[in-house]
């Protein structure tokens, strides 16, 4: 979808948020965007009206670029709900928990595939999330099952104020991982047959793995 919003208009929205926040009119946290307007404008050119957006607590730009009216979003922010912008009409889901929407994004993509839909899901997250276990699980599952979903990592190098790469280590994670393949000789549990035995009361029982 071609956005009509300019970089300046996006910044103006966040400036409005800054102003009401500074005026002491909000009773909730704000997570503002800035500096990524052109990146998002380019990405949203490929996003269709019927697509889903799953994103984070920093979502004003995503909502506006998806078509949420400024006035609707201003009211939502004024109602102290900036941290979880949700809009069913424009198919926007967010979470205030790091990585919180990745798996629901995956489920929506699975749902689209099961229904044979043509739309897709766009899942936005930060760089710390992109190092998390959930991120690896969902991206792997999506790739291997050919789901209609695109993951967008918004990398500002920080998680809150923690430098992501410093905490994870600046080297690749590869060398400290050993992988080997084997074929098991026993099942996951038990020994592969049902086992008869007498319980404490002397009753004949059978172990059936439950």
């Amino acid at each position: 979808m071609e956005t009509k919003l300019t970089k300046e208009e996006l910044r103006e929205f966040e400036k409005w948020c800054v102003d009401i926040y500074k005026a002491g009119k909000l009773r909730s946290p704000l997570h503002l965007s800035g500096g990524n307007e052109e990146h998002l404008q380019a990405i949203f050119k490929d996003i269709e009206e019927d697509d889903w957006i799953f994103t984070t607590y920093r979502s004003h730009y995503h909502a506006l670029l998806k078509g949420v009216p400024k006035e609707w979003l201003k009211q939502w922010v004024s109602d102290n709900k900036s941290i979880h912008v949700m809009n069913k009409e424009h198919k926007i889901v967010t979470s205030a928990i790091v990585g919180g929407t990745l798996s629901s994004a995956l489920g929506a993509a699975l749902g689209i595939k099961l229904k044979g839909g043509k739309n897709r899901v766009w899942a936005f997250c930060g760089d710390m999330t992109s190092e998390s276990g959930t991120f690896h699980e969902v991206t792997k599952y999506a790739r291997r099952n050919d789901l209609p979903i695109t993951f967008v990592v918004e990398d500002n190098g920080l998680s809150t104020d923690t430098p992501t790469q410093e905490t994870w280590g600046l080297k690749d994670s590869g060398p400290n991982i050993i992988k080997y393949n084997y074929k098991r000789i026993y099942p996951h549990y038990g020994v592969g047959v049902f086992v008869d035995f007498k319980d404490d009361k002397g009753e004949d029982r059978m172990e059936i793995g439950i």
Binding site: W52, K88, S95, S103, S104, G107, A108, L114, M206, I208
Partner: protein, 193 residues
Amino acid sequence: MGTYKEELIKAMDILAAHPKTIFIGQNVIYGGASMFWTIANVPKEKRIELPVFEEVQAGMSLGLSLEGFIPVSIFPRMDFMLLAMNQIVNHIDKMDEMSDGQFKPVIIMRTAIGSTEPLMPGPQHCQDHTEALKLMCKNINVVRLENADQIVPEFTKALQADKPTILVDIPDMYNKELENEFKESRRKSLENL
């Protein structure tokens, strides 16, 4: 009124007959948990076997519900469901509130208190956190299925609800029945040799 196991099968048949339901989780296509035997009549095309990633499974259930499905999300033991608490407590339970009622996910989560007979599986496989779940969840209806006569009405209610439900079954109520069925099946196959 049937036995506990018969009522579970009846309830699963009712869920399976609904056009929007989809059964997901571990042991929905492949065996390994007592619950597996209670979904025997659910058509294969309505089942998706997932990897063991409980948190992602719970989140996927939410995503599927947003796409109009009613997921029947199966966690074979409550001990394992603990790994999904972020999605269950922070997301599924809060979706209605966070969206001002725009999203009302209908999700049926099924779990069990691991059986302690005929084998005692140890402290990580038989925990009952039903009461803790009730304390943590503001919107999800949490139900422990104490008796056979509760089963069909509670699953039917979950299917018709406009909110998520967690139903906790008790395999100790029906594993003896399964055990006898397996014994009988084996006896018959031995007779046919």
